[in-house]
């Protein structure tokens, strides 16, 4: 999985590409943790190019949300493909994450 980072107006966008599963979940968690240490607390996770997510990937998002919340920030999810959104719904985590149609909508929600 690729992680591209972009920072605009104190909001960090992490654009993910590929499969977010047990082979890549740790990389996402470490990326968010390192940015939190640099005092970045508001994140958009752009998942438009993620075509698969499993419970390990979802677990890394939950863990990241928890650590960001503790620092007074938030994580917004954007651009989910319908099939990936179905996995959020299967695991009920669409009720936990704020999910937006696109990055602009996510950015204006902060």
């Amino acid at each position: 999985m690729e992680i591209l980072e972009e920072k605009i107006n104190k909001i960090v966008t992490l654009k993910l590409k590929g499969h977010l599963d047990a082979s890549s979940a740790k990389a996402l968690k470490e990326k968010v943790d390192s940015l939190v240490k640099e005092k970045c607390v508001n994140f958009i996770i752009d998942m438009g190019a993620v075509d698969f997510i499993d419970s390990s990937g979802l677990g890394s998002l939950v863990s990241s949300l928890r650590s960001v919340n503790k620092s007074g920030g938030d994580i917004k999810i954007s651009s989910l493909q319908n099939k990936v959104r179905a996995i959020f719904e299967l695991t009920r985590l669409h009720r936990v994450f704020e999910i937006h149609e696109d990055r602009n909508a996510a950015a204006t929600s902060f």
């Binding site: 590929g18 499969h19 599963d21 047990a22 082979s23 698969f52 499993d54 419970s55 390990s56 979802l58 677990g59 890394s60 939950v62 863990s63 949300l65 928890r66 919340n69 319908n82 099939k83 179905a86 996995i87 299967l90 695991t91 009920r92 985590l93 009720r95 936990v96």
Partner: protein, 187 residues
């Protein structure tokens, strides 16, 4: 083929034509039975994969299963959910049965009949505690969005499998473990 024979041969080289590389092995064969000396195809289509127990192989097996699901009148969403179940089961083998030891093998059997899809996930590691499979149900997936501290980071694999599949059975015998997942095909 009796279950015991499947157990004992699955992680060895298959009995059909196979291509093998270091991490990923595929074996194709058709299931036959004989009537009055003549071979008759039973309408089963089978494939098995054997991978090294390395997390980096998980996308390979997931994508392969998803593509095989194009043989079935499943929606894209259902194909993804079947892929998800296989990925969860293989991940459990690597994480829990083998404790991340990448020198082991995980087998994945794909058997398609006119009535159902059967997926068998094999390993030779530490067996799953049967109670864990019994306890895993859709209630395990419920979350309270207002209580983030108590939302689990892990433990969703088996509940997902039981939610998506029509039947889930786990067997452990003589050092071989097999999780069998079945999904009925729409008539």
């Amino acid at each position: 083929m009796p279950q015991q024979r499947v157990f004992s041969t699955f992680l060895e080289n298959g009995n059909g034509q196979s291509t093998t590389c270091k991490q990923f092995s595929v074996c194709l064969y058709v299931c036959e039975h004989r009537e009055n000396g003549r071979a008759a195809i039973m309408g089963l289509r089978k494939m098995k994969f054997i991978i090294d127990s390395d997390l980096d192989n998980i996308p390979l097996i997931g994508i392969s299963i998803n593509k095989l699901c194009s043989l079935i009148p499943f929606s894209e969403r259902m194909a993804l959910q079947v892929e998800l179940c296989v990925v969860e089961a293989v991940t459990n083998c690597i994480k829990h049965a083998y404790k991340y030891d990448s020198a082991q093998k995980v087998g994945v059997g794909f058997t398609l009949s006119p009535e159902e899809l059967v997926l068998d996930i094999y390993d030779t590691g530490i067996p799953l505690e049967m109670e864990m499979l019994d306890r895993a149900d859709f209630k395990s997936l419920e979350v309270d969005p207002e209580d983030l501290e108590n939302i689990a980071e892990g433990g969703r694999g088996l509940p997902i499998i039981k939610e998506v599949m029509d039947s889930v059975v786990y067997e452990s015998e003589k050092g071989m473990n097999c999780l069998t997942m079945k999904k009925k095909l729409a008539s």
